[in-house]
C-alpha cells in the first residue's frame, strides 16, 4: 500500500512526442518553472506558514519603515505627556518619560530583528561548518562535540546571562553571546544530518566514480544537510528574539534607553497597575514575531523539500 502511493510514474506530459530532437533548453525552462510551482503550491497549501510569512514580512516592513510610519523619535523625552493612554496622537500611549510607545515598539522591532537575524545566520553558518567538519574528521568530531556537550549542559538563558555579566552590555555583545549559546545545538543538528547523509549510498556512489573529498563535502553533503539547518535557523531566529527580550528585561541586554522590546516591558512592569499598554503592545509584537517565525520554519521545510511528504 505504502509503496504504491509513494511513487508516481512520470507524468507523460513532457513526452516531446516521437520526434528524436527535443529542445533541451526549452525543456529545462519548462521543468524548472513546473518545479518552482510545485514548491510554491506546497508552501501555499500550509495556511499556517503563509500566515507566518505574512507576519514576518509585515514586521520587516514596520521595522524598516519606522521613521516613515511614525513621526516620533523613540528616544525623545516629553515629561508633560507621561503615561498617557492610547489616543489618536499616541497610538500605543506614552511611557514613564513621555516617549511614544508606538515609536519605541517599531524601533524595537529593528533591534529584535537585527539580533535574531544575525544570530540565526551566524549560528547557522558556523554550526554547519562545524557539523560538516566534525562528520569527516574523528579528532575534530571528538573535540568539537565535547565542547558542545559542555556548552549545552548549561541552560541557554543562564549561559547568555553569564556572558552578558562579563561582557559590556551592548547590542554587539548580546549578538555574540547568543551566537555562542546557539552554535552547539546547530552544530549537533548539522553533524547528525551530515552523518546520515554520509552513510547514504549515493555518497558511496560518488566515491566509486572517483570524486574528491571537497566535491563530496560541498557539492553533495552540504546541499543535503542545508534544509534542516535553514529550518533550524528560523527557529534560532525566533528563540534569539525571546532571549534578547529576556536579557533586556533582566537588565542584562541592550542597555536601557534603547527601545528594545525587553526594555519597554521592563519599564512597563513597574507601572503595570497604571499603564497596561506598555506591557500589552510590546508583548503582542514579540509573540507575533516569534509565532510568525516558528510557523514560517515549517513552511520553509516544505518549500525546500518538495519531495518529502
Amino acid at each position: 500500500m505504502r509503496d504504491a502511493v509513494l511513487k508516481a510514474d512520470l507524468p507523460e506530459s513532457f513526452s516531446g512526442g516521437t520526434e528524436q530532437q527535443v529542445d533541451m533548453e526549452q525543456l529545462r525552462k519548462a521543468l524548472k518553472k513546473e518545479q518552482r510551482q510545485i514548491r510554491i503550491r506546497k508552501f501555499a497549501k500550509n495556511k499556517a506558514s503563509v500566515f507566518g510569512l505574512v507576519v514576518v514580512c509585515l514586521m520587516i516592513i514596520l521595522a524598516v519603515g519606522a521613521p516613515v510610519i511614525c513621526k516620533y523619535d523613540p528616544l525623545e523625552l516629553n515629561t508633560v505627556n507621561r503615561l498617557k493612554s492610547c489616543s489618536a496622537e499616541h497610538w500605543f500611549g506614552t511611557d514613564t518619560m513621555g516617549r511614544d510607545v508606538f515609536a519605541r515598539v517599531l524601533y524595537g522591532a529593528r533591534i529584535s530583528l537585527t539580533v535574531g537575524f544575525s544570530v540565526g545566520i551566524s549560528a547557522g553558518v558556523l554550526g554547519m561548518i562545524m557539523g560538516l567538519y566534525a562528520s569527516t574528521n574523528k579528532i575534530a568530531d571528538n573535540v568539537l562535540m565535547r565542547i558542545c556537550d559542555g556548552l549545552k549542559a548549561i541552560p541557554s538563558t543562564l549561559l547568555a546571562i553569564t556572558m552578558m555579566t562579563v561582557l559590556k552590555a551592548d547590542i554587539k555583545n548580546v549578538i555574540i553571546s547568543l551566537i555562542v549559546v546557539n552554535v552547539p545545538s546547530m552544530a549537533r543538528i548539522a553533524r547528525s544530518q551530515a552523518i546520515v547523509v554520509k552513510e547514504q549510498t549515493y555518497m558511496e556512489a560518488m566515491k566509486g566514480l572517483g570524486a574528491g573529498r571537497s566535491r563530496m563535502l560541498w557539492k553533495h553533503m552540504a546541499p543535503n544537510i542545508l534544509s534542516p539547518v535553514i529550518v533550524q535557523v528560523t527557529f534560532v531566529f525566533a528563540s534569539s528574539i525571546i532571549t534578547e527580550a529576556a536579557l533586556s528585561f533582566l537588565g542584562a541586554g541592550v542597555p536601557a534607553p534603547a527601545p528594545s522590546w525587553g526594555n519597554i516591558l521592563n519599564e512597563g512592569k513597574g507601572v503595570i497597575y497604571s499603564a497596561w499598554w506598555m506591557v500589552l503592545f510590546p508583548g503582542i509584537f514579540t509573540v507575533l514575531t516569534v509565532l510568525g517565525l516558528n510557523l514560517l520554519g515549517d513552511g520553509i521545510r516544505d518549500f525546500l523539500d518538495p519531495m518529502s511528504s
Partner: protein, 325 residues
C-alpha cells in the same frame, strides 16, 4: 562463452581479506569481524560472474573492496592485469574508471538534490572528460541506451519509480565506458516484472558492449540465468566456484547443494528432495575453526572442525573448498 578459454582477467582479487574492528576503543576487548577472509576471484572480459551467498556471507563486502570503496585488510587487487598495490593515487583513480558499480537500493543511491542529467554528467566532470556540451550529449546518449527518454534529463530522482532509478544508476555506471560493472543486488529491491526488465538490459549491454559484470545476488535462479560463472560464498570464504552449467549439473560442496535445494521452484509438479540446514549462520565475529561450514554441514567429521580446506580444482574451472572431495 566457455570458461576454459584463457582470457585476460579484467578484475582480479588475490587473497582478499577484509576485517572490521569492533568492540571497545580501549585496547582490551578488540574483536575482528572477518567479513571476507582470503578470497580469490577473477572476472574475465565480457564475462558475467555471479556471486551468491546468504546475508552476512561477505559477498557485498568483497564487491565493495574490489571497487575500492573500502580498503582491503590484505590481498592484491589487479585491474586490467595491473596490481594497484604500489600505485600512486592519481594512477589508481585513472584505472578505477574501468570499474563502476550499481547499488542495491535505488532509492538511496541517487543524490536527491541532483537532476538526472547532472548525476550523469558529473561522472564525466570528475574525470575531466569533454566540454559541457559533449558531456550533455554523452549523457543523453547513455540515457537512450538504458531506456530513459531525453525528457528525463532535468527531472529529480524522486520523480522516478524503483525500476527507472535502477536504470539511472546503471547509466551513471555506463557513462565512463567501464570494462566491468559490479552490481550489488541490483534487482532484489524490485518487483518481479521490473526485475526481468533490468536483467534483460544487463544481458543486452554485455552482448553489445562486451562489458563484464560481477553480479552479486542472493537469488539463485536470477544468478543462474544471468551468469557465466558462479562463486558461492559462506561466512567470508569461497566455497565453490564453477561455470554455471557445470555447477548446476554437478554440485559438489554440501553448502552449495543445500543452497540450491532450498530455492523454491515455480513448477508445482517437481517436488524435489530438500536439504534443510540446521540452525543459523554463525557470527562472523567468532567464526568456527576449521571449515567454517562444519557446524551446519550434514557430512561434517571431526577433521572438518580442525583443518581448513583449500580450494581444489576438481574439473576445468570447477573449484571446491571441502575436505570430503
Amino acid at each position: 562463452m566457455t570458461a576454459e578459454k584463457e582470457r585476460v582477467p579484467v578484475l582480479k582479487g588475490e587473497g582478499i581479506r577484509k576485517y572490521y574492528q569492533t568492540g571497545g576503543s580501549i585496547g582490551r576487548g578488540k574483536h575482528f569481524v572477518k567479513a571476507v577472509d582470503g578470497v580469490d576471484i577473477s572476472i574475465c572480459e565480457g564475462e558475467i560472474y555471479g556471486l551468491v551467498g546468504e546475508t552476512g556471507c561477505g559477498k557485498s563486502t568483497l564487491g565493495r573492496t574490489l571497487m575500492g570503496l573500502t580498503e582491503a585488510t590484505d590481498g592484491k587487487i589487479r585491474i586490467l592485469g595491473k596490481d594497484i598495490g604500489g600505485m600512486k593515487k592519481s594512477e589508481i583513480t585513472g584505472l578505477r574508471r574501468n570499474i563502476q558499480m550499481v547499488f542495491q537500493d535505488p532509492y538511496t543511491s541517487l543524490d536527491p538534490r541532483q537532476k538526472i542529467g547532472d548525476i550523469l554528467m558529473e561522472a564525466l566532470e570528475i574525470h575531466k572528460i569533454g566540454t559541457k556540451e559533449e558531456r550533455m550529449e554523452a549523457a543523453l546518449k547513455i540515457m537512450g541506451t538504458v531506456g530513459l527518454r531525453p525528457e528525463h534529463f532535468y527531472r529529480y530522482p524522486h520523480e522516478f519509480s524503483g525500476g527507472q532509478r535502477q536504470r539511472i544508476g546503471l547509466a551513471r555506471a555506463l557513462i565512463l565506458s567501464p570494462k566491468i560493472i559490479i552490481c550489488d543486488e541490483p534487482v532484489s529491491a524490485l518487483d518481479v516484472s521490473i526485475q526481468a526488465q533490468i536483467i534483460n538490459l544487463l544481458q543486452e549491454l554485455r552482448e553489445k558492449q562486451n562489458i563484464s559484470f560481477l553480479f552479486i545476488a542472493h537469488d539463485m535462479s536470477v544468478v543462474r540465468h544471468i551468469s557465466d560463472r558462479i562463486g558461492v560464498m559462506y561466512l567470508g570464504h569461497m566455497m565453490e566456484e564453477a561455470p554455471t552449467d557445470e555447477l548446476f549439473a554437478r554440485t559438489v560442496h554440501p553448502y552449495s547443494k543445500a543452497l540450491l535445494s532450498a530455492v523454491p521452484n515455480p513448477n508445482p509438479h517437481q517436488k524435489k528432495e530438500r536439504i534443510v540446514l540446521k540452525g543459523d549462520l554463525p557470527s562472523p565475529l567468532n567464526p568456527p575453526p576449521g571449515c567454517v561450514f562444519h557446524t551446519r554441514c550434514p557430512y561434517a567429521t571431526e577433521e572438518c572442525s580442525i583443518r581448513r580446506p583449500d580450494m581444489k580444482e576438481i574439473a576445468p574451472g570447477h573449484k571446491v573448498a571441502c575436505l570430503k572431495v
